[in-house]
Structure formats: structure tokens, C-alpha cells
């Protein structure tokens, strides 16, 4: 790896990390695992002048789940995958390969804002949030406000995600349907679904997230509306899933046209919903 020259610091406190980031200016980047950033640096598509590595900052790892779930931003994908926190665990278990899951972090992937990554759509669908610390203090950013566009989030310059918050998975069934050509690939399309059943077995609430169907993670709101309050039989699920790609404008590539991606979104939505309903 022959990246452009850069400085590197690994501060031992969050305040020191924030200071370093501020002093580094707009070309400073947070290193939080590095499995997205370092390949970009290798290809010289990114050339930060300073990397502020969070690995020594205390208090940024671990999962607390007393009802609501709080995940330290530097928690590795492997720990999220094995953390027993529903949809987030299911999605994290499919990220790339074991080596990547051992290094990559939940805060890192959310801050990177790649719509092809697994966890942004999960955060969005579950209406989770991130806690960010910056020069002007701490704030909570709802997922719906976090992802703005391709690789673009609403994090301000100098802000660091410290924690990820998700609602309790209790009472929800979850399903994750990811489509790729090789297991370690990014999703060509993925659909995550969470379903809560009412006492009569109908759909009390449903959340559906779409991965790689646009410049940012998306909610399949039309499909959600089609199912909310309805029965959860196969026909209703299939009918709702037919609307999974409503309003999307997915980016095409060599292996997937827009039409094919919309088709995949519908198929995967049905599969994710079936899995979620079976588990609800």
C-alpha cells in the first residue's frame, strides 16, 4: 500500500481526539477500523493529511441492551453480529468476511455513509440514532437526518460518532435478505424488515429498509403502508413487497440494471418480510 503522505495519531481520550481532529482541519479523517477508508487511501481516491485513530479512546466499545440498545461506536462488526440484538446482528453477520468484521466498526460504517453497506439501512428502518460529539458538545442525530447522499452524512466537520442507539428488538420479528454474487461482496441489493404483530396476528407495525437502492439508505414506505394494519398472510406480504421499489432510482452498474435492482428489491422484500413475520 503506497498512500499519499499522512500523519497519524491515536489519542487516549475523546477530548484529545476531538482536539486532534479540529487541529487537523478539513483534511483530517477519523480512523475507526479503516476497512473503507484505507482501500480508498491505497487507491489515492482519498488523501487525508491526518488520521485520528479512535482505537485507544476508552468507553467507545460494547453493547448495552436494557430495553433500548446502546452500542459503542467502536464496537466491531463481529461483536454486533454476535451481540443478539436482532436485525442489526443479522445484518452485521453478513458484512464482507470475518477479517473485515474483526476490524470494521459500527460507528465507522455509519459515518462513512455508503448506501451499499449493511448497517445504514438497518439504523434507518429501526428509526435509530447516533450520538455525536463535536466542538460544541453532544447531540443525537436521528437516522432519518443522518444520511444525506452518497458517502455524505450530516455529521459536522470535527464531529465523532460515539454511540449508536436502537430501539429494543423485543416484540419485533426481523428478517434480512441480502443479494450479492459472492458472499464477501457488498450488497447488490439488500432488504431488512422488522415486523410487530398485533394480538390478532395482524401487522401492528412494520419497518423496511433498502440497501443500495439509491444514493443513501431508503425506507420502503409504500410497502410498509401496504402492510401496516393488514393481515400477515402470504398474499398480503407478497402484495406489499410488490411496492418495495416504489419511488426508488437505484444506481445501475455492470452487473445490475435499474430494472433488475427494482426486481431484486421486490423479491428480497418479500423474503425479508416472510422471515420477519415467521420470527415475530
Amino acid at each position: 500500500m503506497i498512500p499519499a503522505a499522512f500523519d497519524y495519531v491515536a489519542p487516549e481520550s475523546l477530548d484529545a481526539a476531538l482536539d486532534a481532529l479540529r487541529e487537523g482541519g478539513e483534511d483530517a479523517k477519523v480512523l475507526a477500523g479503516g476497512h473503507s477508508l484505507l482501500p480508498l487511501m491505497k487507491l489515492r481516491l482519498a488523501a487525508p493529511t491526518l488520521l485520528v485513530d479512535l482505537r485507544r479512546v476508552p468507553g467507545l466499545t460494547g453493547i448495552e441492551s436494557n430495553g433500548a440498545v446502546r452500542i459503542g461506536a467502536m464496537t466491531r462488526h463481529h461483536d454486533v453480529a454476535t451481540g443478539g440484538i436482532g436485525l442489526a446482528s443479522m445484518a452485521a453477520a453478513t458484512i464482507a468476511d470475518q477479517q473485515v468484521r474483526n476490524r470494521g466498526t459500527i460507528g465507522g460504517t455509519l459515518a462513512h455513509g455508503d448506501p451499499a453497506s449493511d448497517l445504514p439501512a438497518v439504523l434507518l428502518a429501526l428509526e435509530g440514532s447516533v450520538v455525536a460529539r463535536g466542538g460544541s458538545g453532544e447531540r443525537e442525530i436521528a437516522a432519518a437526518d443522518l444520511f444525506l447522499d452518497y458517502l455524505t452524512t450530516s455529521l459536522a466537520e470535527g464531529e465523532i460518532i460515539t454511540e449508536v442507539r436502537l430501539p429494543s428488538p423485543d416484540g419485533w420479528g426481523a428478517g434480512y435478505a441480502k443479494f450479492n454474487r459472492r458472499v464477501e461482496d457488498w450488497a447488490m441489493v439488500a432488504v431488512c424488515a422488522a415486523v410487530r404483530k398485533a394480538a390478532d396476528g395482524s401487522c401492528e407495525d412494520v419497518r423496511i429498509g433498502l440497501t443500495n437502492m439509491g444514493g443513501r439508505p431508503l425506507r420502503a414506505t409504500a410497502a410498509e403502508q401496504a402492510l401496516r394494519g393488514r393481515g400477515l398472510d402470504a398474499a398480503a406480504i407478497a402484495a406489499a413487497a410488490e411496492q418495495a421499489a416504489e419511488g426508488t432510482d437505484p444506481p445501475a452498474d455492470l452487473n445490475a440494471s435499474e430494472d433488475y435492482k427494482r426486481h431484486l428489491a421486490r423479491v428480497l422484500c418479500r423474503r425479508a418480510l416472510e422471515e420477519a413475520v415467521a420470527a415475530a
Binding site: I2, A5, R181, R182, E184, M188, L254, N255, L264, V267
Partner: protein
């Protein structure tokens, strides 16, 4: 068969592996001569453009930069070599400089090299080289390229490279058919993708040049370095240290190798370059890339009459070492395992604004097998015949070997019914077909294949034959040291195959020693005799035979010494239990170590007139090629909703003659199958309509991993070749030559119930889904 003591045929572990898996390998990037300078290339971002200007001043002014060279600085007398000069065939080839002069012809074409004291500094400085391009229209589609302008090379006035045909009166043969089936194939472009990209260190001092390169062909490289730099060969040494795979992509004389040697001579310093993965994808030569129009004809009873294959071969922007020869290698075996009235292959080579194609594992033969075997399934369906029955009906019978084919090749040995019968012992195809309980579409496909390897009889491939400017013989030097250890110098250049182990097994058996006592030396042109390197599944069938012959000479001398010491007749000396002794007198013999001692301390230990010493040399030019064969089957399961294909079983029965080491055969077959499954289902080196490379990394170039593949089920038959004393045939390319047809036939078998009866690779989920959509879609 000569006397052996049982190492040949054993599943011996690879003796070359421990240093490699313990991190003690010695690759080009591990080597750093004192005072080494580093090189980085500035490469074209345009597919086709005139270079309006290059400003190197900012790069040259950076700290640590020693030199920046452009095409204008080159004072080489000739461009890079094309070693195929076929008698009677006109080949239109552009001049190909190691650095582009005036114009760039594909993305990645090098326009400047930056040389400096630090690897980081040269990459930084390369970004400061300002190249002003005037873009020209890119020629991307090979069929359109044949229609006329725009041209890749305006001065040539055409995009056509050559026309070449092999075969007979196929028109009559097809006219004799009751049924003719015609299909258009796209056999798409792929990469070699070795785990170690290329790397070069050139060190020119006091009139001598040493080049260390991650190459398959150190001897070829030595020759061409001498020719290109105007040196004599005795002043040029090439070392291929540990090489992390080649798959044909390192069977090449690359511009970087010549350029670094040239620069080292200019700067009087060693110069080193390590290829990045991005460079490897863009500028290590690619393979395949053919459009083929194929017609197959048969009588109503299934008897084949004719096969006509018209190939348009996309060669890319330049003719590299063997570029235009590659499709011809497929033409030699376009007859497959079958009898025909006539078969003909017509090849048209064409230039486009892409990286050059050249030999990649199989080189022309995977394409040939694909056309033959897919067409046979298409024909069987048209005739309503069983696809195995039609194969069996047309196989060349085992009793016909050596068998002359419809195009005049002589197949050395074969038993095609035998491999197919053995394959069917391992599974029941009918039980694997049809819809699964969960609605998946299952299909089974076959490929009963043969190929041509063991490059090569010089009278066939040499300058007056096919036109390769080399006699593809092979050499071996076998040296018994004073204490009985043995060094074997082979002219082949193993780079991952396990040949050190196989060669040691052959020598050990014939000398009554352990394979661990045999060291196989290769990859350094300053040691051992001239050789012809490793490619084309030649190293065992040609290189191994040379070793067997050199060993036989040494053994003959050892027996003479033993006879003298034991006061016996030399014809009574036999090797048994590690000793050369008198037949029928166990325990009386001498070990190789004892004989070596006598050989090097002559006194009165040697018979009258025998020279001291115990080593000998053999050069071997084979009489014929060898033709391995086999029967493969793939079982696929397709998700009708997404089009995704899951390869659920893969079975292979191969025959490469008597096994020297079954482990090594398994390794080659497994890797070879993966290479072809990769082409069939995953890998595609794709350029967009502007000639930009769309698959420049392993993110987009989808090499399959173990997770995408089943455990392969392999078995063998052993039909010896009469061509060499070992009876062996090559196996390095076998799996790759066999497998894409088996997989494709399985996919078509699975898709026929939903109306899809033909499809081209790569069988990506979207392509399969689109094919199903055209037939009205499938309900799960």
C-alpha cells in the same frame, strides 16, 4: 518402465511448500539490492488519444527523484517482441514501445516512468506528471472494428491483424448433414489474476545485466533482453525467484522488464518496480475475448459430419509475445474427442483500444472446448437425442489410438468411453435434474473434453512449422554430489505447480534415494542449461521427460561403476532397495552415495576409459504433443426469481497418464476448474463503450472464493501416452479447458423447462434473469 522404488505415484506432500507457508518465501518484493532505485509508471487514463504534451518538470523537481523518462527518451532500436512469425501468413502488427510515443492506445498504456530513491516518493511524483491528451474515438467492439475506421493505429490503415485457417472441406461435410445447428458465442475477456502481481528488479553494472522478475519465462526473457538491449546473452542473467502464480499472465516479455533494464543501464543503479493490483488488472495481459459463429452438422442418427468455427479474436491494442497465435491453439483440437468428416476453424484477429490478450490458462483450448461441447448439447436437443449417447456414438474408439483426427493431428492415446463410464459411476445425472422442493431449477451439464499440450515438438511449432521463433524442447542436468545428494537443474520454471516435488519423485525412484535428497534448481539462467520455461502444460511431459532421460544417463554410468566394483557384468546390475547390486544377490550392492564417492575419487575405482564425475545432461525435443482428456459434469441450481446460479456439485474424471503424484494432479484440476467456473459464472474483464476498464479491482472483477464453490469430486483413469517414457500428459490447464462448457450446459439444462435454450457467459444473475424474462418470466 524402469526400476523404481515406489516414490512415483505416491501422494507425497509438496516439498517446496514449507518456506512459502511459513513466510520464508523469496519473492521479487523481498529482494532489495544495495542502492536500489524505485520506479512508478504514469499510465494513460484515455482509451485512445494523441499525447499533446507531457510536462515532467514538477515531478523531476521533487526530492528524491533521479529521473523521469517518456517515450521521447527511449533509444531502443526495436519495439517489444512478437514471437509468432507464421510462414505464409500476413500479420499486421503495430510497433509497441515500452513507453508510448505520441499516442496512447488503451487505458493503462504507460506514458512515463518516474525513478527515485523511495517507493513512496516516486508514486507521489508520478501524480505530478502532467499529460495533455487529445482524445480520439475508441475502438471497442471487435466486429465493428473490422468494418473500417476509426483505426486503433491509423498508420496501419486497418484493424484487422490476420486471417488464419485450419481444417478441411467443412462446407461439404455440413451439406451432408441432416441437421445443422448454428449459434453465436461470446467468449468474454478474463484475467490471469495471480496472487502475486508482477515485479522486476533490473541491475546493470560493469557491462552485465541481472534482471529478477516474477516471470514464468526467465530463459525467454534473457534472450529478449539481450536482443532488445544489444547485449550478448552471456552478459545477461535472469532470475525468477519464488513466483506467486502466473496462469499465463507471466508468459510474456513485458515493456516494464525491458524498460527497467534500459533505465538501470542509463542510471548505473538497480531499478525496482512492483506492480500494484490495479496495474495488474489493467496491464497484465488478458485472455479469451472471442466472438465465434459456430455451425455443427449431423446425420439424423446423430453421426457428426462437420463443425465450422469462425472466430473473431479481440487482440487489444498491441501484439504481445504470442497474441495472434492463441486462438490457433484451440483450432488444433477443434475436433474434440470425436470423429468428423471435416472440421475447420477460421480465425480473424482484430485490434481494439484495450489491453492486449495473450495466453491465459488454456489459451485457445478453453474456448474450443466451450464451442464444441455446448454445440453438441444444442445438436442433441435438436435431434431429440440423449447428450451422452450422441457423445458415445461419435467418440474416437479406444482401439483407434494413435488416432489421426479430421484435421490431421495425431492424438497419442485416449479412452473417452472409459472416463465417461467412470464419471457415471459417481452419480446419477437424472436424479440431479428438475425442480427442487423449494422451486429451484436444477440442471446437469457435461463436458467430455480433450486438449493439446506438452509444448512442443519443434518441427511442428518452430520457425518452419507453426512459426513460433523458438524450439520448444527442454533440458535437464542431473548432478550427483560426492555424498550422494542430487541436484537437478531443469529448464522449466515452476511457479506454484509443485514440480519440485514431482521431479524429485521421478529422480529418487531411478536412483534409489529419498526425494528429500533431490534438490530441484530452476529459475536462474546462470545455472543449468538453456531451457524453455513453464507454460502450456509442458513442464512434466517435456521437462520431466528430459529429467528422466538425464537421470537414465547418470544411472547407466552408476551401473558401470557398480559393475566394476562388484566385478560383475554391467547388464547384471539392478537397483533394488536403494542399492545398485548384482541381480539375485541381495545385500551385495552399492548405494548411490558410495558410487558417487568412487566417481569423484577415481584411483582404480572406475572402469578403464570411464571419465570421473557423476552428472549428465539431456535435451529433449518431443516427437508429438500429448492429449489429455476427461469427462466432467456440473450440477447447478438456479433461483428462478433472481437468476442466481449455485454450483452444487462438480465431478471430474481426468486422464493425464500415470500419476507421478496424485496430490499435485488434484491441485491442478481443482484450480483449473475454479478458473473456468470463474469465467462461466463470475469473472468478466469488461470495458465500457468508451474503452474505460470497468473491472479494475477485485471488487468488480469477481474472482470466486471457496464460499461460492462446492467440494469437487475428482477421480482419474490412467491411459499412458506413448510419446514419453513416463507416459505422462500435462494437467495444469485441464480443468480450465473442460469446465466452462460443463457449467454452461448445466445452466441451459436447468433453464430449458422455462424456455431458455441457449445463453452466453458470463452467467451473471442479471443475464440469467433477463433471459428468463424474455421467455415470459418464471413463477416460483
Amino acid at each position: 518402465m524402469s526400476e523404481t522404488n515406489g516414490h512415483v505415484g505416491r501422494r507425497m506432500r509438496r516439498k517446496e511448500d514449507p518456506p512459502l507457508i511459513e513466510g520464508r518465501g523469496n519473492y521479487v518484493d523481498d529482494i532489495q539490492p544495495g542502492g536500489t532505485l524505485h520506479a512508478a509508471f504514469v499510465r494513460s487514463t484515455e482509451a485512445h488519444a494523441t499525447i499533446a504534451s507531457i510536462d515532467t518538470s514538477a515531478a523531476a523537481a521533487r526530492p528524491g527523484i533521479e529521473a523521469v523518462f517518456t517515450g521521447a527518451d527511449l533509444d531502443l532500436e526495436a519495439g517489444l517482441p512478437l514471437a509468432w512469425v507464421p510462414p505464409g501468413v500476413e500479420v499486421t502488427a503495430p510497433v509497441h514501445w515500452p513507453l508510448a510515443k505520441d499516442a496512447v492506445k488503451h487505458v493503462g498504456d504507460p506514458v512515463a516512468v518516474v525513478i527515485g530513491r523511495d517507493r513512496y516518493a516516486v508514486v507521489d511524483a508520478a501524480e505530478d506528471v502532467l499529460v495533455d491528451y487529445d482524445p480520439l474515438p475508441a475502438v471497442v467492439d471487435p466486429e465493428k472494428a473490422l468494418e473500417g475506421a476509426p483505426f486503433v493505429h491509423d498508420d496501419l490503415g486497418t484493424n484487422k491483424v490476420h486471417e488464419w485457417s485450419l481444417g478441411g472441406d467443412v462446407e461439404t461435410a455440413l451439406a451432408n448433414a441432416d441437421v445443422v445447428v448454428e449459434r453465436r458465442f461470446i467468449n468474454h475477456r478474463t484475467a490471469g489474476a495471480p496472487i502475486e502481481p508482477r515485479g522486476v528488479i533490473a541491475d546493470y553494472r560493469t557491462g552485465e545485466l541481472t534482471v529478477t522478475s516474477s516471470t514464468q519465462v526467465p530463459h525467454f526473457l534473457k534472450l529478449f533482453l539481450a536482443l532488445q538491449l544489444g547485449m550478448t546473452e552471456d552478459r545477461v542473467r535472469v532470475i525468477a525467484p519464488d513466483v506467486g502464480g502466473g496462469f499465463g499472465s507471466k508468459l510474456q516479455i513485458y515493456g516494464e522488464e525491458i524498460l527497467l533494464a534500459w533505465a538501470s543501464r542509463k542510471l548505473s543503479r538497480p531499478v525496482k518496480w512492483i506492480e500494484t493490483r490495479s496495474e495488474n488488472m489493467a496491464v497484465s495481459h488478458h485472455g479469451r475475448d472471442q466472438v465465434a459463429y459456430v455451425k455443427i452438422g449431423a446425420k439424423q442418427d446423430g453421426t457428426f459430419t462437420g463443425l465450422h468455427v469462425k472466430i473473431i479474436a479481440d487482440f487489444g491494442a498491441y501484439m504481445m509475445l504470442l497474441t495472434p497465435l492463441i486462438p490457433s491453439l484451440g483450432a488444433f483440437v477443434m475436433t474434440g474427442c470425436y470423429r468428423w468428416e471435416a472440421v475447420r476453424t477460421d480465425i480473424t484477429g482484430v485490434m481494439t483500444n484495450k489491453m492486449a490478450t495473450d495466453a491465459i490458462r488454456g489459451a485457445g483450448r478453453p474456448e474450443a472446448t466451450h464451442y464444441i461441447e455446448v454445440m453438441i448439447d444444442q445438436l442433441a436437443h435438436e435431434l431429440g437425442m440423449d447428450r451422452l449417447e450422441i457423445r458415445r456414438k461419435n467418440f474416437i474408439p479406444a482401439e483407434d489410438f494413435p488416432a489421426e483426427t479430421a484435421i490431421g493431428m495425431v492424438y497419442d492415446s485416449g479412452n473417452y468411453q472409459g472416463t465417461l463410464a467412470k464419471l457415471l459411476e459417481h452419480f446419477d445425472p437424472e436424479a440431479e435434474r428438475g425442480r427442487t422442493a423449494d422451486g429451484k431449477l436444477r440442471g446437469v451439464g457435461f463436458s467430455t473434453w480433450t486438449e493439446i499440450c506438452g509444448l512442443a515438438p519443434s518441427r511442428v511449432t518452430g520457425p518452419s512449422g507453426l512459426g513460433v521463433q523458438a524450439g520448444l524442447m527442454e533440458s535437464a542436468l542431473v548432478r550427483v554430489h560426492v555424498t550422494g545428494a542430487v541436484s537437478v537443474y531443469t529448464g522449466t520454471s515452476p511457479h506454484g505447480q509443485g514440480l519440485e516435488t514431482a521431479f524429485a519423485q521421478i529422480v529418487a525412484d531411478r536412483m534409489g534415494i529419498d526425494p528429500e535428497q533431490v534438490e530441484v534448481m530452476h529459475g536462474d539462467t546462470s545455472q543449468g542449461p538453456w531451457g524453455l520455461d513453464t507454460y502450456g502444460s509442458r513442464s512434466l511431459a517435456v521437462g520431466g521427460e528430459a529429467i528422466a532421460r538425464a537421470t537414465a544417463k547418470v544411472v547407466e554410468k552408476a551401473k558401470a561403476i557398480a559393475a566394476h566394483k562388484l566385478e560383475a557384468a554391467v547388464e547384471d546390475i539392478q537397483l533394488a532397495d536403494g542399492k545398485f547390486g548384482v541381480a539375485g544377490s541381495p545385500g551385495s550392492g552399492l548405494t548411490l552415495a558410495e558410487i558417487a564417492g568412487f566417481a569423484y575419487i577415481p584411483e582404480d575405482n572406475l572402469p578403464e576409459g570411464l571419465e570421473p564425475g557423476l552428472e549428465d545432461l539431456a535435451f529433449y525435443d518431443p516427437e508429438n504433443f500429448v492429449f489429455p482428456f476427461g469427462a466432467h459434469a456440473a450440477v447447478v441450481e438456479i433461483d428462478p426469481e433472481t437468476g442466481k446460479i449455485d454450483l452444487v456439485r462438480y465431478l471430474a474424471v481426468d486422464d493425464c497418464g500415470p500419476a507421478i503424484n496424485p496430490n499435485l494432479i488434484d491441485g491442478q484440476i481443482h484450480g483449473g476448474i475454479v478458473h473456468a467456473v470463474g469465467q462461466a459464472l463470475f469473472e468478466h474483464m469488461a470495458y465500457d463503450e468508451d474503452g474505460q476498464l470497468a473491472t479494475g479491482s477485485f471488487v468488480s472483477y469477481a474472482l470466486p472464493s471457496a464460499a461460492e464453490l462446492p467440494s469437487f469430486e475428482t477421480d482419474r483413469t490412467e491411459t499412458p501416452s506413448p510419446v514419453n517414457s513416463l507416459g505422462v500428459k500435462g494437467v495444469g490447464e485441464a480443468g480450465t479447458i473442460a469446465a466452462s462448457a460443463a457449467v454452461t450446459n448445466a445452466v441451459i439444462d436447468a433453464l430449458r423447462p422455462v424456455g431458455v435454450d441457449f445463453i452466453n457467459m458470463p452467467l451473471s444473475p442479471m443475464r440469467v434473469w433477463e433471459a428468463m424474462q424474455e421467455k415470459g418470466g418464471v413463477t416460483a
